[in-house]
Amino acid sequence: MREIESQKIKEAVARGAIEACRDLPPEVERALKEALSKEDLPLARRALEILLENVKTARKVGLPLCQDTGIPVVFVRIGEDVQVKNLYEAIEEGLYLGFKEGYLRASVCEVLSRRNTGTNTPGVIHCEIVPGEELEIFLLPKGCGSENMSRLAMLPPSAGLEGIKNFVIETVSRAGANPCPPVVVGVGIGGNFETAALLSKKALLRPLAKPHPEKEVADLEEELLLKINQLGIGPLGLGGQTTALAVHIETHPSHIASLPVAVNIQCHAHRIKRIVL
């Protein structure tokens, strides 16, 4: 049994929370540059130029890329041979420390009174147990301009593949300019009500535009991306060819009577930090 001290987890989460907000994964920045090379429309080009300039500025001056530093979403994969004490507490304390030291925004409030908690916590923490003796933590500061545009449908199985495609495309189309396109579209298909939603979020953890290992799913990802980019919404909804940078799908077998589909929309500032301890 390998023991990981909670202090170490706390410090890594604090550092990661700050880094996640200040820099984009290289593949996301690359995707924005590629998008710029494809656009002719002046406003679409201007939007992408500003977004790329923003990445440079954030890096140079150490500011968050976006003022919406998000509700912290944390996915934890705990190796079976790892022992940790007070895991949730260590993560929450790390998130708070990151918020304080990184000058992140207090974006979390009590849901009914709308009173700001003032600490940017609690985060949303998902844990799963995996083989091995590592602790893997994904930090996903999730802005709500995009999160609010997400949807879930309990489709009848008769809706089939067409029903799934229509729901995904309709969700991105209805979202329009609101979620700060070009978006990353996380899709969860199957399982049940909560599994579909969780899968749609987990789909965002995959490195950008890395296709699903199963060909059937990868083909669906490719087809949906093509159709979404024909919507013409474009960067920041100002028109153009790039409405989405990628579509990531995760699936799970479902009940014979059910076809749940969830679409989790992520903005162009697809901030994510992976930590391995």
Binding site: L43, R46, A47, I50, L51, E53, N54, T57, A58, V61, G62, L63, P64, L65, C66, Q67, D68, T69, Y103, L104, R105, A106, S107, R114, N116, G118, G143, G145, N148, G176, A177, N178, C180, Q230, L231, G232, I233, G234, L236, G237, L238, G239, C267, H268, A269
Partner: protein, 185 residues
């Protein structure tokens, strides 16, 4: 070429020349407010209390900035989604507000009020909070400090870029984009 707008506006006539999709460059002083601030302002109006600031010919920028790190006037400061303010906006336009700025489309009541009162809705660049922060020269809280990032701020801006979505003459740039895309499908 972008049109220069200095807030608070001396003369609203300049807004009449704006067309959907035009670039503008903002100078002067704008107010910064989002969800909780709007709720407070409307409550004050309901109770016939004076507002902390006159809205005449002003621009409200929908933003909740990150805290300013040492040596900076403000943190990251990009726009938030505008439709959440739709319920409050017509009343504020009626009081003389000249412009609102955020991102994403407005509802029919807001668009109608924009035409009725000769105002404008602008979108600035979502998710470019660090870039836009460099265009802000000063920031001060003028009311509701207890709301933290949702306090009512006054910002001094220079060459702050935005796109005209809904000018006073009507029209909607986001709808034009959709129509154009529809033709291409």
């Amino acid at each position: 070429m972008s049109t220069k707008l200095v807030f608070p506006l001396k003369d609203r006539k300049i807004l009449r020349s704006l067309k959907p999709g035009d670039l503008v460059s903002i100078y002067g002083r704008v107010l910064a407010a989002r969800d909780a601030t709007h709720r407070r302002l409307l409550q004050m109006l309901e109770h016939n209390e004076p507002l902390p600031v006159s809205l005449r010919n002003q621009c409200i920028y929908y933003v909740g900035p990150t805290p300013a790190p040492p040596g900076r006037v403000i943190g990251s400061a990009g726009p938030t989604t505008a439709y959440r303010m739709d319920a409050y906006t017509p009343r504020l336009l009626e009081l003389g507000l000249a412009a609102t700025m955020g991102k994403g489309p407005r509802g029919p009541e807001v668009k109608e009020a924009i035409m009725k009162y000769g105002a404008v809705y602008l979108a600035t660049f979502g998710g470019a909070g660090a870039y836009l922060s460099e265009r802000i020269q000063a920031a001060r809280v003028i009311a509701f400090p207890e709301l933290g990032p949702e306090a009512l701020f006054e910002l001094e801006v220079e060459d702050f870029p935005a796109v005209v979505i809904n000018p006073p003459s009507g029209g909607d740039y986001y709808e034009e984009v959709r129509k154009r895309a529809g033709r291409n499908l």
